[in-house]
């Protein structure tokens, strides 16, 4: 081996490396699973606000308004050559991952992100609050709660439920989880579960919450057995949930944007998935009074909304 040959080529290569210029800042491509879905759209609009403040350019692609979304998205990616693809919802992420695996992807609003196929150029903001945060706040309001029950579908929520169980245990709360495969199993599962628990927890499981009827079924059963219901979203307050601690959608949008800016500056480790940083707390005093369930008054300064009974 002529060492000189090797050195010559190495020198050439180093010149190539050193003399290289700077990449121009590129566009962000926002892929929205369905812009008629409130959650997706709220996050998207907050995300865009921050991009605008930072003078970033973006292009939007809404999957619901394209017949052959995959092919069109592929073409758009080629055309725009975005530095980052922001995928809102699982559908958007799965598609983008398929057609642009070599691009940096940032996702949000995907239920239980741990089930996603996560590559090394992927970043995300989870859909769910950190379960430890949720449980901490829950315990702040209801310090006496010891056992909480929940229903879930294994295919969609297994990883999330496993995390909840672990975090809850660390905070001294026991979680009893009951898997279901179909909404028809809800009634039986609740009958079995409710007597064993102090509170029922509604998680964002798309099989358990597949229709209004299944939501009503849960609340009716809980009411019959006089068990308070805690929910991941304030939309269940109207149905009778005593407390809802939900991820603040606007914060998810802002947080995604802040990640996007930092990813572009290469300041975020690959594979980073953050939990939403902001929570919205809704307390249903009316439902609490009806159940004669007391709560920690000091926690009121963390409440966004209190619902009283209609007089």
């Amino acid at each position: 081996m002529k060492i000189m040959d090797f050195c010559k080529v190495l020198i050439l290569l180093s010149v190539f490396w050193v003399s290289a210029g700077f990449a121009l800042p590129g566009k962000v491509l926002i892929v929205n699973s369905d812009n008629t879905v409130f959650r997706y759209e709220t996050i998207a609009s907050e995300f865009k606000k921050v991009l605008q403040q930072n003078a970033y350019q973006w292009t939007e692609f809404n999957l619901n308004s394209h017949a052959d979304a995959e092919a069109e998205l592929k073409q758009l990616i080629q055309q725009e050559n975005p530095v980052l693809i922001y995928c809102i919802g699982t559908k958007a992420y799965s598609l983008a991952r398929n057609v642009a695996s070599n691009k940096k992807l940032l996702f949000s609003a995907a239920i239980n992100w741990r089930r996603l196929d996560i590559g090394e150029g992927t970043y995300g903001v989870a859909n769910e609050l950190s379960s430890a945060q949720e449980i901490s706040l829950l315990r702040y309001f209801f310090p006496t709660i010891k056992t909480i029950g929940l229903l879930y579908n294994d295919k969609f929520s297994r990883e999330y439920v496993e995390t909840i169980k672990k975090e809850a245990l660390a905070l001294g709360i026991n979680i009893i989880n009951q898997p279901i495969n179909d909404t028809q199993e809800i009634s039986g599962a609740l009958n079995e579960l409710l007597p064993k628990i102090d509170m029922f927890w509604i998680i964002s499981d798309p099989v358990v919450l597949s229709s209004k009827a299944s939501v009503q079924q849960i609340f009716q059963a809980a009411q019959q057995q006089k068990k308070p219901v805690y929910a991941y979203s304030e939309v269940f307050i109207e149905q009778g949930a005593v407390l809802a601690i939900s991820a603040d959608l606007a914060t998810i949008g802002r947080q995604s944007a802040s990640l996007a800016l930092m990813i572009n500056e290469d300041k975020v480790p690959e594979g980073t998935v953050q939990n939403p940083a902001g929570s919205t707390v809704t307390l249903n005093k009316c439902a609490l009074d009806a159940l004669r369930f007391s709560f920690n008054q000091d926690a009121l300064d963390s409440v966004n909304k209190i619902v009283e009974c209609d007089k």
């Binding site: 190539f16 700077f22 879905v37 196929d117 090394e120 099989v207 919450l209 209004k212 269940f236």
Partner: protein
């Protein structure tokens, strides 16, 4: 009043969101349910973290489907010849040699080819996996991963100098019907039909059918051992390397189960022939090869999965060789390998994964055919040159991939294999990948690998020239390599790798007692070199365009002598220019250095050459459904030669194809 109006206005501001929201909360539930319904549409199975090419310790080149399209590849060989460190040359028998890092053998037995992770070294008599896979059609390929360096610690036998893993399109990739056809010089025609579908009940199916036929390059063969003595022979004549093949591949899945496999039938003539006499068109090689694999992944826990598989491989050869103008020899055998593997994957933490597994296989050879005679249609049985044989082997392995720091990946692995016929072998592998500056990574790895002696090498009998040796031990290689991979700017990838391999106990024929030659573990070989690669992908309006170059300096020595028939350097320059979203053009220059002869060979060195290929590709035409490409290989009609071995020194060298055309159309439904 002003106060009132102001409050009214403020009231509107405040109530705008809250009061409206309260009144419409039922609507909010609907919205949330709509969101959950949208999320329910997408079910994701099996989450596995893929290792990024940059982060592995191995030197890896990945060729994607779109690269293959742009190259206008006619078969796998056209893809492989672009990979740094790999060279393709013609053999006298017909199949091609895959030279890796300056080491080249007739049957390429030091390279393991895999299809979707399944090893294809099904020929137990002669080893190697190039027999029916060298000219594999590429239309159904999604990706080719070429890992240079030893990989026995993971894959066991024969992952010696390189592993070529071919990944084909699955049901999800196909999602419908895809057909394609190609036509080109030498009466080449190729057809392909694929269908794939994912069903709602988690079942999925993909089927591929390929058919290829070519008359071969018809190289002039000026002489053979008879013609040089003035005796009647086919020489001067032309090579008769006709090739025809069809194959069927299937991938069926239901829940966590998967059944896949591929059947191939290949019939070929020969390039020169098996002896030193030029064969006419009566030499026929007929191969059948298939594998069937049933696998299942068990998700025990989020962090703990177990992959299990059972498989059955089949390979048969039934070849009729013309040894002299009126002498024919038919030889055939059937090989099977049946076994299973269980692999546990434990994700200890976000930074550490351990895999470990056990494999078992039983290999058998039987149905031997040995016939001899003057009339190719009526040959008479003769003494068998091969043996019916059974071998059992098992192996255990473990590998730990650990990221102790964000920018440091360490890999440590080892594998022990035990064979019923020659005993055990232990192969470790270790290395690290350290991103010492953002976008600049340093790689280092050390590993060993082995190649199990083939049945033919162990038990070749009744062959007057060479005999087998049941005492053979495996060949061994120790390799260390180090390199830098860098992305100085977006779109630019550069890599420099230095490798040093020491191959010991090489199985090669030496002077024998009962025959002229006998196989023995004899000799060692040192192969070292530098591989430089760079690729720049353009962005913006030029998205899809790239330029790339790789340059290899290699030096292989045996007994302090530079190895014959392999070049000292090889360079590939490629450029792809995307005019718009549809049209792109491709250009490729292959520069190969001259190759030395064996010390006993008085011929001049084989001169180096440069070949220039161009292509034009139109993609996603007629409503995204049609792709058309046209390629010209060796545009300047350069006359060039692959080295003929010393034993055939009278013919000079093998003249390879001049200018050749290839057109290709593919349709998606």
């Amino acid at each position: 009043m002003i106060k009132y109006l102001y409050t009214l206005l403020v009231g509107v501001l405040v109530l705008n969101s809250s009061a409206f929201a309260a009144a419409a909360s039922n609507d909010d539930l609907e919205k949330e349910l709509a969101y959950l319904a949208a999320e329910r549409q997408v079910v994701i199975t099996a989450s596995k973290i893929e290792e990024h090419v940059d982060k592995t310790i191995a030197t890896t080149t990945v060729i994607t489907q779109s690269d293959i399209q742009q190259i206008g590849a006619r078969n796998l060989l056209d893809v492989l010849r672009l990979v740094p460190g790999i060279g393709i040359t013609q053999t006298q028998m017909g199949w091609r040699e895959i030279e890796v890092r300056g080491v080249k053998t007739l049957t390429s037995e030091k390279v393991q080819i895999m299809l979707n992770g399944h090893p294809l070294d099904h020929n137990l008599q002669n080893a190697g996996s190039g027999w029916v896979y060298d000219d594999l059609p590429v239309d159904t390929i999604k990706r080719v991963e070429v890992v240079r360096g030893p990989s026995s610690a993971l894959y066991g036998a024969n992952a010696f100098l390189a592993v070529i893993n071919i990944i084909t399109q699955n049901a999800k990739d196909l999602n419908g019907v895809q057909t394609s056809a190609g036509w080109g010089s030498f009466d080449t025609q190729q057809y392909r039909a694929s269908w794939g579908k994912q069903f709602d009940n988690s079942a999925e199916a993909a089927l591929h059918f390929n058919f290829t036929d070519t008359n071969g390059i018809n190289s002039p063969i000026p002489a053979d051992s008879l013609s040089v003595q003035g005796q009647p022979s086919s020489a001067p004549g032309r090579s008769q390397l006709t090739e025809g093949r069809y194959d069927l591949e299937w991938q069926l899945g239901y829940q966590d189960f998967k059944l896949d496999g591929r059947y191939i039938n290949k019939k070929a003539g020969t390039f020169f022939g098996a002896a030193s006499v030029l064969s006419d068109d009566r030499t026929q090689q007929d191969y059948n090869d298939y594998f069937l694999r049933l696998s299942r992944t068990w998700k025990i826990q989020d962090k703990f999965t177990v992959d299990t598989q059972i498989f059955h491989d089949f390979y048969s050869a039934d070849n009729r060789w013309q040894l002299a103008p009126t002498q024919f020899f038919r030889t055939g055998f059937q090989d099977t390998r049946t076994g299973g593997e269980i692999q546990a994957n434990y994700h200890i933490s976000d930074t550490q994964t351990v895999i470990s597994g056990f494999s078992y296989a039983k290999e058998q050879q039987g149905n031997l055919i040995d016939e001899l005679g003057g009339d190719p249609e009526h040959l008479m049985p003769t003494l068998s040159s091969s043996e019916e044989r059974t071998r059992r082997r098992w192996g255990i392995y473990i590998e730990d991939v650990w990221d102790p720091l964000k920018n440091l990946r360490m890999t440590l692995g080892a594998r022990y294999d035990r064979y019923s016929d020659f005993g055990g072998t232990f192969n470790p592998r270790m290395g690290f990948n350290w991103e010492f500056i953002k976008n600049y990574s340093l790689k280092f790895s050390y590993g060993t690998a082995y190649r199990a002696p083939a049945f033919g090498e162990l038990s070749l009998v009744n062959n007057p020239v060479v005999s087998g040796n049941p005492m053979l031990k495996p060949e061994e290689v120790k390799t260390f390599e180090t390199g830098i991979i860098a992305h100085p700017v977006a779109g630019l990838t550069t890599q420099a790798t230095y490798y040093h391999s020491a191959i010991n106990q090489i199985i090669s024929p030496v002077s024998g007692q009962t025959t002229i030659l006998q196989y023995a573990n004899n000799g060692s070989l040192i192969s070292e070199g530098v591989e430089l690669e760079t690729r720049y992908d353009f962005g913006g309006n030029l998205q899809g365009s790239y330029i790339s170059a790789n340059h290899v300096l290699q030096h292989s020595t045996q007994l302090s002598q530079q190895l014959a028939d392999v070049p000292r350097h090889r360079t590939n320059l490629t450029a792809n220019w995307a005019f718009d979203n549809t049209w792109s053009s491709f250009a490729h220059i292959l520069i190969k250095g001259n190759t030395l002869r064996n010390p006993s060979d008085t011929r001049n060195n084989v001169p180096g050459y440069a070949l220039f290929d161009v292509g034009l590709l139109g993609k996603n035409m007629f409503g995204q459904k049609v792709d058309i490409s046209f390629n010209v290989y060796n545009l300047l009609d350069k006359r060039y030669y692959d080295p003929a071995p010393t034993s055939l020194n009278f013919i000079g060298d093998y003249q390879m194809a001049g200018r050749a055309f290839f057109g290709h159309v593919s349709l998606k439904f």
